[in-house]
């Protein structure tokens, strides 16, 4: 039973953690090597890893998606999709896909004369099911070893902690003020029932005592 409990909580934590890991912004230092646009079929279950940049796109079977190709400082490739999130989830309110593609084009460089950039993105890259992180911002940096402070995530986790603290306090307050008094009342009622039963048992000694006690149950 204890292992079931652990497994349950581990599963909840994993799902919640993956959700945050997918949704929260991350920063990569990369060198942009190219951009392209490709028609994507978006009718199978992996469509949940793609945006619905406008109202029509929910009913389309396929549509064009823009991509940004890059190389990381360790020489490995990383490809981002570049799609509007619009007013939908995740709440990045990104509408500047075309501008971002232009900025990416502007930062293109080769290995001989590298120009480094930080790409802010959310999402995962998975080659097996062909999913790509979505780029939401790009800015040039001096070199591949810049320090990036994830201000948004720091703020977000502090805020999340405060929200959990508040929810816990709200629950504690609700229990103290609304549930515990009811339970105490119920306990008092129970005790008085108990006491009356004890008194009845005490009176029910002997034959007449028993009859009196029985009669007493009809009186009140």
């Amino acid at each position: 039973m204890r292992y079931v409990k652990w497994a349950f909580w581990a599963m909840i934590l994993t799902i919640f953690g993956s959700f945050l890991h997918y949704t929260l912004p991350q920063h990569d230092v990369v060198r942009i090597v190219g951009t392209y646009q490709e028609r994507q079929d978006l009718t199978d279950w992996t469509s949940m890893f793609w945006s619905q940049p406008d109202d029509q796109s929910g009913t389309l079977a396929n549509r064009d998606v823009q991509f940004i190709q890059s190389v990381r400082p360790n020489g490995r490739p990383m490809v981002y999709r570049n799609e509007d999130t619009g007013w939908r989830w995740p709440p990045y309110f990104k509408f500047d896909t075309a501008s971002l593609q232009t900025e990416a084009d502007d930062l293109k460089s080769n290995a001989e004369v590298p120009k480094w950039a930080v790409i802010t993105h959310y999402g995962w890259r998975n080659e097996l099911i062909s999913i790509f992180p979505n780029a939401v911002g790009i800015r040039p940096v001096e070199g591949p070893d810049v320090t990036i402070i994830p201000w948004f995530n720091i703020f977000f986790f502090v805020f999340l902690g405060l929200v959990f603290l508040l929810l816990w306090r709200m629950w504690a307050q609700f229990r103290e003020r609304a549930i515990d008094p009811v339970l105490t009342d119920a306990g008092e009622v129970w005790d008085s029932v108990d006491a009356r039963a004890d008194a009845a048992r005490d009176r029910a000694k002997g034959f007449f005592g028993r009859i009196n006690a029985w009669l007493a149950t009809w009186r009140r």
């Binding site: 007013w87 709440p91 990045y92 990104k94 500047d96 306090r169 307050q173 609700f174």
Partner: protein
């Protein structure tokens, strides 16, 4: 546009729930503080009616207080946050 409307509808429902639960919580905390304040140092010859009046007056003062009005932040701040994000992501 539909997306925007859907966001607003979802947000309104969420904000209403958050606002009301916070309001109930905040009132409860204030009432408890008033009760404790009275019980810690009740004036001589105090009755239950005096205690009730004291608490009701305190709650009436709370309803007009800045603290109570700050709860509207739960509804207002997210719009500021959305505006800020929209600016930072698309125009900064």
């Amino acid at each position: 546009m539909i997306g925007f409307l859907r966001l607003m509808v979802f947000w309104s429902v969420f904000a209403a729930v958050a606002y009301w639960s916070l309001l109930i919580y905040s009132r409860s905390v204030r009432r408890e503080a008033l009760e404790k304040q009275w019980d810690a140092d009740p004036p001589d010859g105090s009755t239950d009616d005096m205690r009730r009046d004291f608490i009701e007056q305190g709650m009436a003062a709370y309803e007009g207080s800045l603290r109570r009005k700050l709860l509207w932040g739960v509804i207002v701040l997210p719009f500021i946050a959305i505006g800020t994000l929209l600016y930072l992501v698309n125009y900064a």
